[in-house]
Amino acid sequence: METRLGPLHLKNPVVTASGTFGYGLEFTEFVDLSTIGALCTKGLSLAPHAGNVPPRICETPAGMLNAIGLQNVGVKSFLEEKLPRLRELGATVIANVWGDIEEDYVAVVGALEDAEGLAAIELNISCPNVERGGMLFGNSPAATASLVARVRAATKRTLVVKLSPNAPDLVESARAARDSGADILSLVNTFVGMAIDPVTARPRLSFGTGGLSGPAIKPLAVRMVFQVARALPDVPLMGIGGISDLSDVLEFLAAGASAVQIGTANFRDPGVSGRLVDELEAYCRDRDTTVRSLVGRAQRAPTGGEVPGGDAGAEG
């Protein structure tokens, strides 16, 4: 099950996704943290951050919307109160970080640089760049390139860049991140969505819009992983989006992801990540195959079947 993503070596490809696994410590009764490939922390900022006013979440068909607003304890208390305990528990930790301007990212990464027991940094670029009037870092390849380059220069650590599915051109964003020094790309973050109470006609989230996650987005995430893997076959990918069971894991591996991140499923089923490690191991044993050989299989399958005169209409 040993999994290599460029410079990052994990004992298996099952990782828990940022913001859906707290700081790991909330899950100790449900998962032995030393058994999963890695965990991504809640998004860390330099200072503690309060987040948005409630309601922050609501349910949608086969998924949920959230606008937590990146509430977190801040990098200092993470290093003092969380990381040491995670080390004791033998967890492989990826620190997910964010900021409002490039300097914020650089500062957080700097604060983490000498910390013991961090396997990698994951940049959440789905944040509003306040210097650019709130336009998201992830929504322009130029902004992505500039941010990733700045962070790359500031750290020797393995750098994961987490792509936003809301980017106008995902492959361009992926290329920009890769060319600016990302070692690994993780995709996808949540899709901007909205739910409105039919009776009061008020948005269900106080923030108005929120990020859509859960099984509902899986077909979109699989397509994006497939597309980026095809365009950038040399970049190791972590697939994310609605993964709930073993077949979902296999689906993302087949699409071209070398590892997967489990998100919203952790809320419904806090033990799911540990169980998926066991199930994937059993699957590989039974078919005596390796995780590595499961990666990208769909890339080699023939597609595009149409009859003469058939069009390429993916819609209808």
Binding site: G19, F27, G51, R56, I57, E59, N66, Q71, P270
Partner: protein
């Protein structure tokens, strides 16, 4: 310790349309739960509802290995529970949350319990604990109308004290909000009550806070927020706080003293 318990539905009791109780076989949960704690319930294999739903443990019988929930039907989650066939399985994640505290209440102490509608859910188990601790209490139950208070039958024999009822339409008990009924009796100085336990909608809590804070009556409110996980992982359930921006209600609560809540930001 918290765990994802397998529960088998043993019985359902319907009090009035949309108000019912369900009893599950779940021995370890029945043993481990304390008053005011809740579970996140899921019915296996369903995409709807997608997230688990939170239910206070209404009563628990460790000897029989049974836990009971008092439920009001609102949407898909509660509707599924209402129609779940006996013998069906559910997963019960819990016990979760901090629970009520009887600490500091000596034998013979008298408390008030105020419930708005289905907010009465957590109190049968609390009343048992009070009886064991020799604490007496008056039960204040308020609802929209008489039918929505039929579940009061569930409290027969559990209350060591007065039971005061009120309905918005006056069809049962006093006419008006239950907070008024409570205020009139609690106001007396010295207050007859050493503590207030309450559960209901936020506006009811706000009204109660305006009564107990000046009167210096210690209070424990069982708060309710939309919950994504129930164990501190999603940060979806926060309530505006006084000494910090937000309280994470599923782990720091759901039982909170009014002093921890910033009523101005509710």
């Amino acid at each position: 310790m918290r765990a994802d318990h397998r529960g088998v539905l043993l019985a359902r009791r319907v009090f009035s349309p949309g108000f019912f109780s369900v009893t599950f076989q779940a021995p370890r949960l029945a043993r481990d739960v304390s008053p005011g704690q809740f579970v996140m319930l899921e019915i296996a294999g369903r995409l709807r509802p997608y997230l688990r739903r939170a239910y206070s443990v209404a009563d628990a019988d460790p000897a029989a290995g049974e836990v009971e929930f008092l439920v009001k039907t609102i949407g898909p989650g509660t509707a599924t529970l209402e129609s779940l066939a006996e013998g069906s399985e559910a997963s019960l994640l819990g016990p979760l949350g901090n629970g009520f505290s009887l600490a500091g209440l000596g034998r013979g102490a008298r408390v008030a319990i105020v419930a708005g509608g289905i907010g009465a859910a957590p109190f049968p188990l609390l009343l048992r604990a009070m009886r064991a601790a020799g604490v007496a209490g008056d039960l204040y139950l308020g609802g929209r109308n008489a039918a929505e208070l039929d579940f009061r039958a569930r409290f027969e024999g559990l209350v060591d004290g007065e039971t005061v009822l009120s309905t918005d339409d006056g069809s049962l008990g006093e006419k008006g909000f239950i907070t008024g009924a409570f205020a009139r009796r609690a106001a007396a100085a010295p207050s007859p009550y050493a503590r207030l336990y309450a559960c209901g909608p936020m506006p009811m809590f706000a009204a109660l806070a305006r009564v107990v804070e000046p009167a210096r009556i210690p209070a424990e409110f069982s708060t309710e927020a939309a919950m994504g996980c129930g164990f501190g992982a999603c940060l979806g359930c926060v309530i505006p706080g006084r000494d910090k921006p937000f309280v994470i209600s599923c782990v720091e609560g759901p039982i909170l003293p009014p002093q921890k809540i910033d009523w101005g930001r509710i």
